[in-house]
């Protein structure tokens, strides 16, 4: 019985580690690399977007080990160059924060469940994150995608994409949720059959309040954006140029910024994958497409959306690209600062790169017309290491 002492020692370490578990107990901070990107093929939750009142950015900090990865929300008021930590309190956010802009300084944040939590708490702010009020929760687990939650303009209805590929809808107050559609039913919808929908990746509303769902189609050349037209789901994505007609398309992002719905698409697979941005300001019947941008094997690690349809993408190997909007071309950014976690658009046309090292966020600015990044701010985030173990 004594032939396994190596494993016994390992088990002893595990047992000792399990004793560290505790609710809300704090432990000394430990340095470690921040979680950077999600697994290949999924869409990372790190994101940023601008509204009239300011810019929001969400990224993960801390370290990967033992639930010491904490998602942090930062806000920068319009007209200011200073970011503030505005992470909503009261819930462990190791599962990820998903944001839905209501417009202006209002936002709804969802805490993706982690560990033994099985449902999704919601909280809301109307003052750019200075104060938060809990909203009724979502019964299921929100999908792990940055566009899993969307607020309808005007009506305030909330659309949520769950981890089980179900889309749920709730009226303001969010006291009662109803199933809008499931991926299975959506795939069978007459207007969507020619897509061959296999999963859902994003939920959004058009500027007129029509629910949109996005996913991946198995049929080449078909963009899996579907609109709920009076109860009948119809394909409503952009048509791809003939050169991409034989490529399968992944909808990486689908979000509404003010009066524009923006989609980020990946066509093809492997090193031949190309990235496209698409914009529509109506019900999805007319889209403008960006030029294809060859990824050459790189992967998307974060995306940001600014006013006027500006899109910034952070790629692996610390590369970045931006495009100012429909009709513009992709522009490569200067070599990004190390450990950049997301890009954030500046209303004045500039760009911030938010770099993370454990519990420290460093803001780098790229002023319009300049060729280099410069440090503008450092925020030490008071992460309570060990508080979620």
């Amino acid at each position: 019985m004594n032939g396994s002492r190596r494993l016994a020692a390992f088990a002893l370490i595990l047992a000792a580690a399990s004793f560290a578990a505790g609710c809300g107990n704090t432990a000394p901070a430990g340095p470690g690399p921040a979680t950077q990107a999600a697994a290949a093929g999924s869409v990372p939750l790190s994101s940023a977007f601008a509204t009239a009142a300011g810019t929001w950015a969400v990224t993960v900090m801390g370290s990967r080990a033992d639930y010491n990865d904490f998602w942090q929300l930062f806000a920068r008021p319009a007209g200011s160059t200073r970011w503030e930590l505005v992470t909503p309190p009261g819930v462990a956010d190791n599962g990820g924060l998903v944001l839905a802009s209501v417009g202006g300084g209002s936002l709804i944040a969802a805490f993706r469940p982690s560990q033994d939590l099985a449902y999704t708490p919601l909280t809301a702010t109307s003052d750019l994150g200075q104060t938060w009020s809990s909203a009724n929760p979502l019964a299921g687990a929100l999908a792990s995608t940055p566009d899993a939650l969307a607020v309808a303009p005007g009506s305030g209805r909330l659309l949520a994409l769950l981890a089980d590929d179900t889309a749920e809808l709730a009226a303001p107050g969010y006291a009662s949720w109803s199933t809008l559609v499931t991926q299975r039913n959506l795939a069978m919808a007459p207007g969507a059959k020619r897509c061959g929908l296999v999963n859902l990746t994003a939920a959004a509303f058009t500027p007129s309040g029509v629910p949109l769902l996005a996913g991946n189609c198995t049929k080449p050349g078909t963009v899996g954006v579907l609109a709920d037209q009076a109860g009948a789901w119809q394909l409503a994505g952009p048509a791809l140029p003939a050169a991409l007609a034989h490529q399968t398309v992944t909808v990486l992002r689908l979000t509404r910024i003010a009066d524009t719905t923006v989609a980020l698409l990946a066509a093809g697979s492997g090193r031949g994958t190309t990235l496209l941005a698409a914009w529509t300001s109506g019900d999805g019947s007319h889209w403008a497409l960006s030029p294809p941008f060859p990824l050459n094997g790189a992967q998307l690690t974060a995306a940001s959306f600014g006013s006027g349809g500006a899109v910034g993408v952070l790629l692996t190997a610390n590369r970045g690209e931006t495009i100012a909007g429909a009709g513009a071309s992709w522009r490569s950014l200067p070599a990004l600062p190390p450990s950049t976690a997301t890009l954030a658009p500046d209303p004045a046309g500039g760009l911030d790169a938010l770099a993370v090292h454990s519990a420290t966020l460093t803001v780098w600015q790229l002023a319009p017309g300049t060729a280099g990044w410069r440090t503008s701010q450092t925020i030490n985030v008071p992460i309570q290491f060990g508080s979620s173990g």
Partner: protein, 634 residues
């Protein structure tokens, strides 16, 4: 393996103290049993007239031990081939005394303080970890049972093994002796399957050097040989089969040892230690006397530099020994046996590192049993007892079963019984003493409360009026503490959006309600929202759905405004901190047991801690016990 690890420190003082107390308590009972049996036996022998005892003898001794020294034929064995006074052949004596002693040693090792908690997680689970999934599941079943009832399981292993050992030692012949062999087979297989994960024979690193095929499997084979009927004692067949089987096994092990790609041919490879070197280095780290560690370390260094030569020697030695054993020719077997003994001792000292150091060693591993088996096989083949040395059981009068169980004849039977029969009865009583509490504990679906007490310590016994409150329950109804008067209340504080302890505590409350069964009508399970930022009733309902408390009739989850909740926290003196940067609310875990008059009688600083299935059910059992105690005091 989900249920194996109770999450406790193997040296937890509460568990260790309870384990020692249980062993001491049961040890006194064992002494009492042996004492009473001895007194009764001696007294009856002195009291009953000789003819009465003689009658009993004539009737077969009235016990299964009829064929014992008292009844055995006089010594007629060839000197050196059978034990004087018993007629038992030497090979059987080697097995019986050797393995009896080993069982006793194993039982004593099971009494080490760390065994109660440590055996499932530190011994059984790691051994099974490299085995196939189905083996892990089989082993997990037993490991979970052990971790739920560590006191009973730990003590039962001690008494069963010591009992089997004593039984083997005291019963040299007859039905009692054969039965002891069969019990050794049965318990050996239980330990081999559940404790040794089938001796690791399904694991990829199988090797004779590390103990394959599992020490206890050899105990079982020995038990089988001991259980053979006496008529086989005069046959060379047991010896031939034993040596032949061992020989084939050793040849197979030689082939496996020589198989390329298993890491035994290299002392080191690409800077990494080979399989044997790595194992030896690990064994050298076991707490043990320094001189032994030095030997093992030195051999590890030697193997790292001469891995190929060491493995070649082992392969050749196993193959040659195996072939000699298979041959059945004593002239070949004799030197092979000597060489094999030396090899086994070297392996035992330098590779297996004696096997029983470190506080969690359960046996001296496989080499001593190997030596005993090979020696017994050789003796069985070469030194047969003379025909007259073994009495013919058919020639002895045997009592009918009615005679054996007749109460009126019991005193006479006891008086007529041999010492070995009486001692065997005591050994059987010892085994039953060990097995019965474990069997009874298995009937309980929950773990012992000792686990919960080990994590949190004993609850404080208190008596003060519980601070009142008026809050809203999960159904929107107003609930006050006064409205619950007349019932026992288990009151806790739970954060509905907490992702670690709170869901565990909720599940423990649900299980406590199930354990209370009919008593739950008199008990209210109450939780107060411990998150002043998420106060909506919808969060309570979501939590209830999450942990399965929605349908529990006596469950009440209360909330209120932030101000109301914070006032309750203050009145119960419970600290709470709203932590920044994505952390959950900082708070502890508490349970207050409130009696029917509204007095707080117990407070648990309730940490579900490791949150394993065993600790959770032990907390639930402790909650239910507390509620019952308060109900009983009313």
């Amino acid at each position: 393996m989900p249920g194996m690890n109770s999450g406790l420190d193997v040296g937890d003082p509460i568990v260790v103290a309870a384990f020692k107390a249980a062993l001491l308590h049961q040890g006194l009972i064992v002494l009492l049993i042996f004492g009473l049996l001895g007194i009764a036996w001696v007294s009856l022998r002195a009291w009953l007239p000789g003819p009465a005892r003689g009658d009993a003898l004539a009737a077969g001794g009235a016990t299964p031990g009829a064929a014992t020294p008292d009844a055995a034929t006089p010594d007629a064995a060839t000197p050196g081939t059978a034990t004087p006074g018993t007629g038992e052949p030497l090979w059987r004596q080697v097995l019986r005394i050797g393995f009896g002693s080993l069982w006793i040693l194993d039982g004593i090792l099971q009494a080490q303080p760390k065994m109660a908690v440590g055996l499932p997680s530190q011994v059984i689970e790691p051994i099974a970890a490299s085995s196939p999934r189905w083996v892990q599941e089989v082993v997990n079943w037993a490991g979970t049972a052990w971790s739920y009832h560590p006191m009973q399981a730990g003590a039962s292993a001690v008494w069963i093994q010591v009992g089997i050992g004593i039984w083997l030692l005291v019963a040299p012949r007859g039905a009692w002796s054969r039965l002891a062999g069969l019990v050794s087979v049965g318990w050996g297989l239980v330990v081999w399957v559940f404790g040794e994960a089938f001796g690791g024979i399904f694991a990829p690193g199988l090797t004779w050097l590390f103990g394959a095929p599992g020490a206890v499997l050899i105990y079982s084979v020995a038990g089988l040989l001991i259980a053979l009927p006496e008529r086989t004692w005069r046959s060379p067949l047991p010896g031939r089969l034993t040596l032949g089987g061992m020989g084939l096994f050793l040849v197979g092990m030689a082939v496996l040892q020589a198989w390329p790609g298993r890491g035994f041919w290299q002392g080191t490879s690409h800077g990494q230690p080979g399989s044997l070197t790595a194992m030896v280095r690990t064994m050298a780290t076991t707490p043990q006397p320094g001189v032994l560690s030095t030997w093992v370390t030195a051999f590890g260094v030697f193997d790292a530099g001469h891995g190929f030569a060491v493995n070649l020697f082992v392969v050749v030695a196993l193959a040659v020994t195996g072939a000699a054993f298979v041959s059945g020719r004593p002239a070949l077997i004799r030197p092979a046996l000597i060489g094999f003994g030396v090899l086994c001792v070297a392996d035992w000292v330098l590779i297996e590192d004696f096997g029983f150091f470190g506080g969690l060693g359960t046996d001296p591993n496989s080499m001593l049993p190997m030596i005993l088996m090979a020696t017994a096989g050789y003796l069985a083949l070469t030194r047969l007892p003379a025909a007259e040395a073994v009495s013919d059981p058919a020639a002895r009068p045997v009592a009918s079963w009615r005679d054996r169980v007749r109460l009126v004849g019991a005193p006479a039977s006891l008086a007529a019984a041999s010492f070995s029969s009486v001692a065997s009865v005591g050994a059987v009583a010892m085994i039953i003493l060990g097995a019965a509490p474990m069997a009874a504990a298995q009937a309980s679906p929950v773990a012992d409360t000792i686990l919960a007490q080990a994590i949190d310590g004993n609850s404080a016994v208190l008596s003060y009026r519980a601070p009142g409150f008026s809050l809203t329950d999960q159904d929107g109804r107003t609930v006050t503490l006064a409205s619950l008067r007349g019932k026992v209340i288990l009151l806790t504080f739970l954060d509905p959006v907490c992702s670690t302890d709170c869901p565990l505590v909720g599940r423990e409350f649900r299980q406590a309600s199930q354990l209370l069964a009919a008593d739950s009508r008199h008990v209210e399970l109450v939780a107060i929202n411990f998150n002043p930022l998420y106060t909506q009733v919808s969060y309570l309902q979501a939590y209830d759905r999450e942990v399965g408390l929605g349908g529990v009739p006596n469950w009440r989850y209360l909330t209120g405004s932030r101000a109301q909740l914070q006032a309750v926290y203050r009145s119960y003196a419970l600290p709470l901190e709203i932590l920044p940067a994505g952390s959950m609310i900082g708070h502890g875990d508490y349970v207050f047991a409130i009696d029917q008059t509204g007095q707080v009688r117990r407070q648990y600083d309730f940490n579900p801690g490791p949150g394993t299935t065993s600790t959770q059910s032990s907390f639930a059992a402790e909650l239910a016990d507390t509620a019952r105690q308060l109900l009983g005091q009313s």
